[in-house]
Structures are given as structure tokens and as C-alpha cells.
Symmetry: C2
């Protein structure tokens, strides 16, 4: 058997997980500090699937802003314990490398255009920005 350096072993192990979709024994912690920008939208017409889809169309435009590293568009899950707020219509969860790049996103013409074109759809927005781990 070919002898591998420790680095090569770790590299190959990591690659095998990626390639095979192996579930790690424990969850992966975030490896370096990251900026999480999570937005919840409450629509003016929460029963309108058309309005929801229109908003999602706008979010997909935001997704093209280059500083955005990763995003998730979600809808309320069916869970309903007392501490759960499931009254929003759309969740927009985004990741940035750092606060500076999130600021670039906020001021990007595509983001300003999104607010102009789609903000008539929502009546409330709550944003949670967080950084970590520290």
C-alpha cells in the first residue's frame, strides 16, 4: 500500500466525503468567521402564491450579486411549537465572507433595484445579521 503523508490523507478523506456524499459523524462547524444575513418577509397578501413567486423571482436576481457566497430561499416549515414564528412568508438566508462584502451587496445596483421593484409586495421585513464564530 502506498504510504500517504498526513496532509494527503486528510485531503483524500475530505474528497471522498465530497464525492460520495458521506454524512459526517458529527455536523461540520463553520471553519472561519462568516457574515450571515437572514431576512424574513411578511407579504401584504400572504395568501397569494403569485405574490410569493414574484418575490422569489426578485430574490433570484439578488442571488447574482457576486459578493453573495451562498443563499437559501425557504418557506415556513410545518413545525408549530410555542417559540416558533411561522407567520412570515419567505425566508432569505444569505452568507458573505465579511461585513464589508455584505455592505457592497446592500449598495449594489441590483439590490437597490430589487427594493424598488419588489418592496410593494411586503408589509414587514425583519433582518438578523450575525457574525461568527469568534
Amino acid at each position: 500500500m502506498k504510504k500517504l503523508s498526513r496532509r494527503a490523507f486528510l485531503y483524500n478523506t475530505s474528497l471522498a466525503s465530497v464525492a460520495l456524499g458521506v454524512t459526517p459523524a458529527t455536523a461540520e462547524p463553520a471553519k472561519k468567521e462568516i457574515f450571515v444575513h437572514h431576512v424574513f418577509f411578511w407579504l401584504k397578501n400572504p395568501a397569494s402564491a403569485a405574490d410569493r413567486d414574484k418575490l422569489v423571482e426578485g430574490l433570484k436576481k439578488l442571488a447574482k450579486i457576486p459578493v453573495l457566497r451562498k443563499y437559501y430561499i425557504g418557506y415556513p416549515a410545518a413545525t408549530s411549537r410555542g417559540v416558533i414564528d411561522n407567520t412570515y412568508s419567505v425566508s432569505w438566508l444569505t452568507f458573505f465572507n465579511n461585513p464589508e462584502e455584505e455592505e457592497v451587496y446592500q449598495k449594489h445596483p441590483v439590490h437597490l433595484g430589487f427594493v424598488e421593484e419588489y418592496s410593494h409586495l411586503w408589509e414587514k421585513v425583519i433582518v438578523y445579521d450575525s457574525v461568527g464564530p469568534k
Copy 2:
């Protein structure tokens, strides 16, 4: 030059991105439906770094529950626009494969033990559960 199959090419390209930390041209969308469970904690003593660290100690125990796919522990960013809620103390952002696995997490003895051991630290919790993309 060695001729590569398409699969090998994609595999190597993906590996190169992982290995070199290359920033993709656009953000990666979530590829399959996922369950996002985002919890915000408001501490009884928000000025106490000791209480915050204690809570984080507890969250790191939760991180070992096998169904948890990925997690981020965060603190409020320095951003302060009107729609931003930065009054919480700790953000606990977690990913699960599906609602069933999140339910396993909720009922896991480590999670029940966490609530018993650490809930005296917080005065309020808000949870947002979302699923997507759809």
C-alpha cells in the same frame, strides 16, 4: 495530456475549488430541499460575557447530535438599519436534511438535557424553521 472523462473533469474541477478556496462567479444556490432551523436567544443578563459563553458551551454539545448537518454560532453584527433586529445575544443557525431529522434532534436526549441545563440563561427565544427550495 491525459484524456479525462467528463465525470473525472467535473470531479477534479470541484476538488480544485475546494482545495484552493476559489470564489465562484455567482453564489451557489441550495441544490436540494433542506430544513433550516434558526434560533435567536435573548439572555437574561445580556451584558454577561460569562453567560453568553456558557450558552455557547451548551450549543456546542447540541452540535454533536448526529442528524445535525451543519451549524453556525453567531453574534449580532455591527449593522444597524431600521429593519435589523440586533437585540438578541446569540444566533444558532442549523441545517437538517429534512423535517423528520429535525424532529429527531428536538427529541434527542442531548437536546432535552441542553434545555434543562441552560434555559435558565435566556429570557426569550424565537425560532424560525424553514424549508426550501421548492
